[in-house]
């Protein structure tokens, strides 16, 4: 049985991290790592902070955190190098 505190009080600070909003997604952005130019435009524009920054020096591309990415498609729309693509979510 679930325990819910009266008045919806949450007694554990920072517990929002446990709430994986990624399940809301129907489409997901997929990165073609070879095309990523590390410009970080997608990282700046993701409204959910679901993108891990790219590192140009280390030639490390961005990474999408699918636990929180809601599939809005903004990153795909804004990537100037067409490195991202929206694909159907498999459930």
């Amino acid at each position: 049985m679930d325990k819910v505190n009266i008045g919806a009080v949450i007694t554990t600070p920072g517990s929002a991290l446990n709430y994986k909003t990624g399940s809301w997604r129907t489409l997901k952005p997929v990165l073609d790592e070879a095309k990523c130019k590390f410009c970080n435009i997608c990282w700046q524009l993701c409204p959910d902070s679901a993108i891990e920054q790219a590192d140009a020096k280390a030639k490390k591309p961005i990474k999408i955190d699918y636990d929180y990415c809601k599939g809005c498609g903004i990153c795909v729309q804004e990537c100037p190098f067409n490195a991202l693509e929206m694909v159907e979510e498999e459930k």
Binding site: V4, N5, I6, G7, A8, V9
Partner: protein, 393 residues
């Protein structure tokens, strides 16, 4: 024993807040409840009360501040009426949903339009579904006592819901009556300090007013429903504890000369005394009529209303409110409460005293006459009657 004082209804609610050792009073003035924050500010200025008076820019803000203060563990009271309660409405639902035992005195006043500052119960009745307990005072002593008891009932761990105490605009708020003001030590024994389950505290951070997704929202609402059910028992307990301590008896439904009555007239608020006087006059003429007064409207006293309904042929409900497109709200609740009873009286609704129209004994004679007619005919020909309505074109 307390001290007898001749005071206005608003004073009675303010002195109750002082005696309850309220910590925070967020308030915005509105007729006819303005004397409440005025009196609190006098108490604070005189050093008689150790409380924070927050003068906000609207009633919406007053209730918002009440919510914040209550979440921090303070005992909180405020007062409002009419349009002010309407402006608070959004926050009322949040206070009950967050399970904060705030107590609000409401000087029951009609709603605009047309603008009117006099008494009816429309303001609180329209907040029937806000999740607040609702008490209605007949006189200034009731106003004081119900305020004190409201803290104890609301703060009970089985309840943890806010309460509003209605007192009729002007008829009570601005009328001087003899009131027994209890002593501080008596109230301290009756009402211990508020011990919240959760409190806002920087050292122990928690989230208040969190998000409730479809996966959980219903369970929170069910908890509120259960708390309201629990309040039925807690109210009875607190009423009887109050009686033992202070000698004044309260009941959810109080009956008067109902035992052999054919007609029982049900009232709420200050009209109840007039109804009892009318009953006495009619009894002298041999009319078998009784009266009953509803002090608690939320939670609705189902059991007591069912018991009452078995005593009469007609239950005549005097509603000082109107739900357009249906009738009076108290009538609707009573009809609902009795729906599955095999034996039930005829129910007739009487809309009365809106916008401060005087309610007189003659009005109750008229109610009894219409009820008697239904008994003679064996049926209710018209369900909703407007009492003492002028003929206008």
């Amino acid at each position: 024993m307390g001290v007898k004082q001749v005071v206005k209804g608003n004073f009675a609610t303010a002195v109750a807040a002082k005696l309850a050792r309220v910590d925070v009073v967020p308030a915005y003035p509105i007729t006819p409840s303005t004397l409440f924050p005025e009196q609190i500010s006098t108490y604070i200025a005189n050093g008689e009360m150790d409380a924070e008076l927050l003068l906000t820019e609207s009633e919406h803000s007053a209730m918002s501040a009440a919510i914040g203060a209550s979440a921090s563990g303070a005992r909180v009271a405020t007062a409002t009426a009419s349009q002010g309660l309407k402006l608070m409405s959004e926050m009322l639902f949040i206070a009950s949903g967050m399970r904060l035992p705030i107590v609000t005195a409401v000087g029951n006043r009609a709603l605009s339009a047309p603008i009117n500052i006099w008494c009816d119960h429309q303001d609180t009745i329209a907040e029937r579904d806000s999740g607040w307990l609702q008490f209605y005072a007949e006189n200034n002593q009731n106003a004081l006592d119900l305020m004190l008891m409201a803290f104890k009932i609301s703060e009970d761990r089985r309840v943890l819901l806010p309460s509003m105490v209605g007192l009729d605009a002007f008829v009570l708020t601005h009328t001087m009556e003899g009131v027994d003001v209890p002593l501080q030590e008596e109230v301290d024994e009756f009402l211990p300090p508020y011990k919240p389950v959760y409190t806002l505290d920087v050292k122990n951070p928690m989230t208040f007013g969190s998000f409730g997704t479809p996966a959980h929202y219903m369970e929170f609402k069910y908890q509120q429903w259960e708390a309201m059910e629990n309040a039925q028992k807690v109210i009875d307990e607190v009423f009887s504890e109050f009686y033992e301590k202070f000698g004044r008896k309260y009941e959810k439904v109080s009956e008067y000369r109902t035992d052999d009555a054919d007609i029982i007239i049900l009232t709420m608020g200050s009209m109840s005394g007039t109804a009892r006087a009318a009953v006495d006059s009619m009894r002298e003429k041999g009319i078998k009529v009784g009266a009953a007064k509803l002090t608690v409207f939320r939670p609705f006293p189902f059991r007591e209303i069912k018991d009452l309904s078995r005593k009469a042929k007609v239950l005549a409900v005097a509603d000082r409110n109107i739900s357009f497109g249906f009738g009076g709200a108290v009538f609707a609740e009573i009809a609902g409460a009795l729906i599955n009873e095999k034996e039930k009286p005829m129910l007739i609704d009487f809309i009365i005293g809106l916008g401060g129209r005087d309610i007189t004994q003659e009005d109750f004679y008229k109610i009894a006459e219409i009820s008697k007619d239904a008994i003679d005919k064996g049926k209710v020909e018209k369900m909703v009657h407007w009492i003492n309505l002028r003929e206008v074109q």
